[in-house]
């Protein structure tokens, strides 16, 4: 069975499958949409014909070079067709094909369809087969994709899977630094950083990393106090622990410092409520700062500090007024 034809990589004019000698024995199978179809897509003729031939090869279960070749064509027409991808994997397995070449193929599709579930799943399937040797090139590829869209969810998931399954952690923290230097608001990069410091086999885990991470995060907060990402990250560094964030003065200090400059920073106020709730004994300075903020409202002057901060939030965060009202009720 010949595998090539006139439809090679755009050099020649596209030849409809019905006019290709190597498909002469295939009887195309039309789509069974019924007599009165709904959500009926007005397919172009080339699309329809390619899918008719695909259906024929698929239903015959043909594991041949021409079937492999043909799935590539169907994928070009609609990279979201998971059935085609699935069939392609069956054919690939049966034919013992060069998987690196296949990776090149899917990379090309991914570049023009960066948010397609199927291409990334196919890449993962291939990378798993290729094993640890594929780690570096996969990291290079996701790096390239993230350079175009630094928050591409699929690219990040793939990168994380490669790290965990195949390795390549060596420069990951540095990569996070670089991305955060470019855009400190990039929450995906913060999330990646969390994976690295908790899971990298080279760094010793969250407990070992916490101290230096707090410094790094506090610095990021001070540079852009209205950037939510480092605030969430800071809380994440102490996830599930009520004692340490209270004991670590840097946490309450950053809240205080930010509030001195910007008394309506909801992230600082919000973290402060949590700290107070965890048992933070406020310094006189902190007490003073909060009291000066709530002075405008005599109604709150007699309540405890966490409640006072909640009522400040009710005022300076009107979008979340009902959230803060509720949260306030949970304090007692």
């Amino acid at each position: 069975m010949g595998s090539s034809s006139g439809e090679e990589e755009g050099t020649n004019k596209w030849v409809p499958p019905s006019q290709r000698p190597e498909l002469a024995d295939v009887v195309p199978v039309g789509q069974d949409d019924g007599p009165c179809p709904v959500v009926s897509i007005s397919y172009r003729d080339d699309f329809r014909e390619v899918m008719d031939y695909f259906r024929a090869l698929y239903s015959a279960g043909e594991r041949s070079p021409r079937a492999l070749h043909f799935t590539a064509e169907a994928i070009h027409f609609n990279p979201g067709n998971y059935t085609v991808w699935h069939f392609r994997r069956l054919v690939l397995e049966a034919l013992d094909t060069d998987l690196l070449q296949e990776m090149n193929f899917v990379d090309q599709i991914a570049e023009s369809n960066p948010k397609n579930y199927q291409v990334w799943h196919h890449k993962r399937w291939l990378a798993e087969k290729l094993g640890p040797d594929a780690a570096n090139s996969e990291h290079e590829f996701t790096r390239k994709m993230l350079a175009i869209d630094a928050k591409n969810y699929h690219a990040w998931s793939h990168r994380q899977w490669v790290l965990q399954a195949l390795g390549g952690w060596e420069s990951e923290l540095q990569y996070c630094n670089q991305l955060l230097e470019e855009d400190v608001f990039n929450n995906s990069a913060w999330n990646q950083r969390y994976l690295v410091i908790t899971s990298s086999p080279l760094l010793g885990g969250l407990v070992a990393m916490r101290d230096s991470e707090v410094d790094y995060t506090v610095e990021a907060i001070m540079a852009n106090p209205r950037n939510e990402s480092p605030w969430r990250y800071l809380k994440g560094l102490y996830k599930g622990d009520n004692y340490l964030p209270v004991a670590d003065r840097r946490i309450s200090d950053v809240c205080l410092k930010v509030l001195k400059d910007d008394s309506t920073c909801i992230f600082a106020l919000s973290l402060l409520v949590d700290l107070l709730r965890m048992g933070l004994q406020p310094s006189d300075e902190l007490k003073g700062t909060i009291e000066s903020m709530e002075n405008c409202d005599p109604e709150t002057s007699h309540v405890d500090l966490a409640t006072a901060v909640c009522s400040i939030l009710q005022k300076c965060d009107p979008l979340r007024i009902s959230y803060w009202s509720w949260y306030r009720t949970t304090l007692s």
Binding site: G34, R55, N191, L195, N224, V246, P318, Y323
Partner: protein, 486 residues
């Protein structure tokens, strides 16, 4: 008609403190305060090697955010400056146009839709559900043809594919089943081959307990939700299907509080809804850290009044449902929330991560073999809200009505984007959720003050765990109960 006092769209940070703001009622329009301000000049030079003082450089995130804020602010300033009559016109839901847009697509779609050729049951669902929300009934022929078409997508061995002859897939099975439940006729409901569907779902189960989308397909929280939702709705959920799913989903809750598609990925609105809804349907919601989940979702509503999908991403109308419904669900989970808050703050010592997925305090571990799973979805909706909405329900309606509606019909992600069926479905679903979110036990329908725009904007209520219109859910629930008793 709702009388709202509207504020100026632009309010500067400096003025925020001196502003005397009524505390009794939330402002109907949230401020357009910039959420990601450029760094102050004094703190501009943060670069490690920064010997030279540079001007503050705006990052990609900041620039994109500012563009959207400016665009939305412009729209709101027209509203705030408008005469009362004009305001009420502006806040109208353009029902007829949406109905026309959705109805038209049900029959025929342009060639460019070939990229959705593996999502045709989804197209059915987005349109049929959107129309049901708008209380638009389909004519009998059309209903019959949809049922017929979906039967052609149904695999001989169970499950629905993206089109006739395609591999069965969990997400398209969800779309097909929800469409058929929404049509609700006997022929629609009985066209679902439940025994086969059950077998298909069992085959899609991974050893981790999670589900994969299709044979050899990807495993994620979306697959878990669509499987559990379908199984619950059709009354075929059992221990075998349920086993391990809850633990997988709990592992996907991140340090931020939201839920990711896979363990360690970024918290995301779509997956947060899917994960939370699945956990409720499994009766394992205690395995999630609900206070932190609520806190994360509440902060996803931004100055544009709509929701973003992830921290520091742009607002998008579809998250009106994913985030809006997720936080609305928690209004019925306050017993668990209170318990978790008490537990996590009672011991001041190091408590480890006992709230975050490693605990086995949920019901799953002690399940008997005769758990009535379908009842969890049924009982949940019969329960009344224990508190009011934890998001700004009026602000969300404002975003949907003013920023997401397209004059020619259909709804969109944000101003400047095109309409599509997906966004139409989820903007309308989110609108319904926000309209009903302030209902208490004593109300038979939403009060005018909980709705923005004329009362005629009111949509049908949904069952938020499945996202089907509530009446249709009730009928389907009865139908599948009875067929099991025969």
């Amino acid at each position: 008609m709702v009388r709202v006092s509207l504020r100026s769209a632009r309010r500067h940070r400096d003025r925020a403190r001196s502003r005397s703001q009524a505390t009794a009622r939330p402002p109907p329009a949230a401020s357009m305060e910039s959420s990601s301000q450029p760094p102050p000049l004094s703190g501009a030079d943060q670069s490690e090697d920064g010997a030279t003082a540079e001007l503050p450089r705006l990052t990609v995130t900041q620039v994109e955010q500012m563009k959207v804020e400016a665009r939305v602010a412009e729209i709101y300033s027209v509203l705030f400056g408008a005469a009362p009559n004009t305001k009420s016109v502006m806040l109208e839901l353009w029902r007829d146009q949406h109905v026309e847009y959705l109805t038209k697509g049900l029959r025929r779609l342009a060639p460019s839709f070939h990229v959705l050729d593996a999502n045709r049951p989804w197209l059915c669902y987005w349109m049929v559900h959107g129309l049901a929300l708008l209380e638009e009934t389909l004519d009998d022929d059309l209903e019959h043809d949809i049922v017929d078409f979906l039967s052609r997508c149904q695999d001989r061995d169970g499950g629905y594919g993206g089109g006739p002859g395609q591999l069965p897939h969990l997400a398209t099975s969800y779309a097909a089943v929800n469409t058929l439940v929404t049509i609700g006729s006997e022929s629609a409901l009985s066209s679902i081959k439940r025994d086969n569907l059950y077998k298909f779902m069992l085959q899609m189960k991974d050893e981790s307990g999670a589900f994969r989308m299709h044979e050899g397909g990807e495993i994620d929280v979306r697959a878990c939700y669509t499987a559990i939702s379908v199984a619950s709705l059709l009354n075929i959920l059992d221990d075998k299907l349920a086993k391990g799913v809850g633990n997988y989903i709990a592992r996907c809750q991140t340090y931020e509080g939201g839920i990711a598609g896979e363990p360690f990925a970024e918290a995301h609105g779509g997956y947060t809804f899917c994960g939370l809804a699945a956990m409720i349907l499994l009766n394992e919601v205690e395995k999630l850290d609900l206070p932190s989940l609520i806190g994360w979702v509440a902060f996803r509503q931004g100055v544009e009044c709509g929701f973003q999908g992830r921290t520091n991403k742009l607002v998008d109308g579809c998250y009106s449902f994913w985030q809006g419904a997720a936080i609305a669900l928690t209004q019925k989970l306050m017993t668990v929330v209170d318990k978790q808050l008490k537990q996590s703050y009672s011991s001041k010592s190091s408590s480890g991560d006992n709230l975050c997925g490693t605990s086995s305090s949920g019901y799953a571990s002690e399940k008997s073999t005769n758990v009535d799973y379908a009842k969890f979805g049924f009982d949940f909706i019969k329960q009344s809200n224990q508190i009011g909405p934890l998001f700004h329900n009026i602000a969300l309606q404002q975003y949907i009505l003013l920023c997401a509606q397209v004059l020619e019909g259909g709804l969109r992600d944000k101003p400047g984007k095109n309409r599509d069926h997906y966004h139409s479905c989820y903007c309308l679903s989110g609108l319904s959720v926000s309209q009903y979110s302030a209902m208490t036990d004593s109300d038979s329908c939403p009060l005018p003050q909980h709705m923005l725009g004329p009362y005629s904007n009111l949509l049908e209520p949904i069952h938020p765990l499945y996202n089907v219109v509530l009446d249709k859910y009730d009928d389907a629930y009865e139908f599948f109960r009875e067929s099991d008793q025969v």
